[in-house]
Symmetry: C2
Subunit: 349 residues, 2 copies
């Protein structure tokens, strides 16, 4: 609260003096390394307790180059999807006695560079990057820093013979996920399906789009460019896209959104225009965020295992750190799961 200098903590030297031993011996006791006479250990432990000794992490880090920090970078928190991941990661991080540095890039390149800078500065022991669009040079730089890194939710599609292959990867096959969602709509008899794609330049979204296309092609249908709406990945874009679909002479009988936030925006637009979901138009999203099951109609979506991804990514970091996992980079891909709710099925009682 105040601006005074922090009360100085007792150091290893204070403990050494109090226990009548050398600092090195205190250190060895602290880390359970080498031989220590039981009597000596007890003296030292008593001194540590008496003086309320807590080791200084900076000093330790300086020598050992271990910080006890794991850094997690995500694009934003507007999408609850990421929050689920953060929670899963945090659970594992905490379990391992580490701390987590959280960073949002807000989708900005400049912020991704800052992540790199922070990584250098803080010497985070591990790094988890979710859905970021790091360039090859930056990935190379991370490789140079040589810090356990797990990429996640980036793109499965293009994995194979690329820069990213040198890193661990945990994700879900979103192409297949979107394929399932669209297939579901086609099975319901829809042939004219609007698609709200997100950001065309991000692989996360192009991959989902490919899923959309493949379902069409497989069913002998053609993808109509005018039914595909690209812009942003926020709710607003979902709203906008739906307004566009509504304005069409022959509007699609179903709409598929690249994520749930877009779908929620779409839902709002339909509601505002008096268009009933699913009676007038069917709607599916992707990510299975919490809200998806709360809105009315409940949103059909695709679960992409965000918690599992988060947990697995964090666990992989620790396996690398502890040397339990050696050798080549790992790819762990989860299966997507279609969750059919009310927004895509007309109830025929």
């Amino acid at each position: 609260m105040t601006n005074k200098i922090r009360t100085p903590n007792p150091t290893i030297y204070d403990i050494a003096k109090a226990a009548g031993v050398s600092p090195g011996t205190v250190s060895r006791t602290l880390n359970n390394i080498g031989y220590i006479k039981d009597e000596t250990r007890q003296k030292i432990e008593k001194a540590m307790k008496d003086l309320k000794y807590i080791p200084n992490r900076a000093a330790r880090t300086l020598k050992t180059k271990k910080t006890g920090l794991v850094m997690m970078a995500i694009p934003d928190t507007d999408n609850p999807f990421y929050v689920d991941m953060v929670k899963a990661v945090q659970d594992v991080v905490k379990y391992n006695g580490y701390s987590m540095i959280l960073y949002y890039t807000e989708g900005k390149k400049s912020d991704e560079i800052k992540v790199l800078k922070m990584l250098h500065e803080h010497y985070a022991d591990g790094l988890i990057l979710i859905n970021l669009s790091f360039s090859k040079e930056h990935l190379k730089e991370i490789e140079r820093i040589n810090c356990p890194l797990v990429l996640s939710s980036m793109c499965v599609s293009t994995i194979g013979g690329r820069e990213e292959d040198r890193f661990d990867y945990v994700g879900v096959d979103t192409r297949k996920g979107m394929y399932l969602a669209v297939k579901h709509l086609i099975m319901q008899g829809h042939t004219s399906i609007g698609y709200i794609g997100g950001v065309k330049e991000l692989e996360v979204f192009t991959e989902r789009y490919e899923g959309y296309c493949s379902a069409f092609i497989e069913s002998g249908l053609k993808v109509r460019e005018d039914l595909v709406f690209w812009k942003n990945y926020s709710e607003t874009t979902g709203y906008e896209a739906s307004k566009y679909f509504i304005s069409m002479k022959e509007r699609p009988t179903a709409v598929c959104a690249a994520n749930d936030m877009l779908a929620l925006g779409a839902l709002r637009a339909f509601e505002d225009s008096g268009i009933k979901v699913p009676e007038d138009v069917a709607l599916v999203g992707m990510d299975n965020i919490d809200t998806a099951s709360r809105v009315k109609p409940k949103l059909t979506t695709v679960s992409i295992a965000q918690s599992e991804i988060g947990r697995t990514a964090a666990e992989l970091i620790y396996k690398r750190l502890n040397g339990d996992e050696k050798g080549q980079s790992k790819k762990i891909i989860f299966e997507p799961r279609l969750i059919v709710r009310d927004s895509s099925i007309i109830f025929t009682g």
Copy 2:
């Protein structure tokens, strides 16, 4: 990705050698302290660029006792309310070139102690505690560490002559918030209002309960103990509480929940039981989380300025750190705002 030793970064000594100066001079250049000849500075800057020099934070911290880290501790992330705060804090932290360590205590005492331990170890420059129930001893210990601390969303009620008073505080008058909510219900003609209180032992909740009571008393009504349900603060409890109300011989005509998550649980219970909101029972919550405006009926709630609290708390930390804010501890209390939506008003067309 690999387990090899990290590529060693160039040190200040490497720079010094490359530029033909002493390490101290490099340090002074780095920090813009004292006199440096322009020519020398340029040589040093060139060397830093050539060698891709990045200062080692641990070494710097060891000497300066500044980490560039701010720690934020919240109870959980299940409540989106906290996510809003985290985002607001992160924005300010980032703006100031710091990083944020995020920690969830999951409401556990043992985890709150860990926060203290981490604070000691990492020497975070500042600490923001949201809704935690630190004991007096722990607060004293934080005071001993002497690190800028902002408490938040704890309890306004009991502020005055207490341990917490020695710390900065940012929050909202939730007692008044709940008073507004209940008053609103009373104005709608309700006299039998069920209350889902959360955790009876937490001041955050007792304060809200006091608001509930004061509205009653002011209106000449009596608080009925059997209409007050205490347990947890999660959605499940909200569900459970409503089931309890439904089971009553004379069930309340309105239900007031201490937070929106509880209200959402209540909403689900009413829906499952075929009880219409607001026709059969009016419902209000508190916190104004995102979902509140998405469910049907849209939830009447009280906005408690979570983003403003987060931002203000973080800004206060930096004012303390920079010495812009000196002197006694500050109390910043925001006003709650009732947001009337569909769940509490019967539309009489």
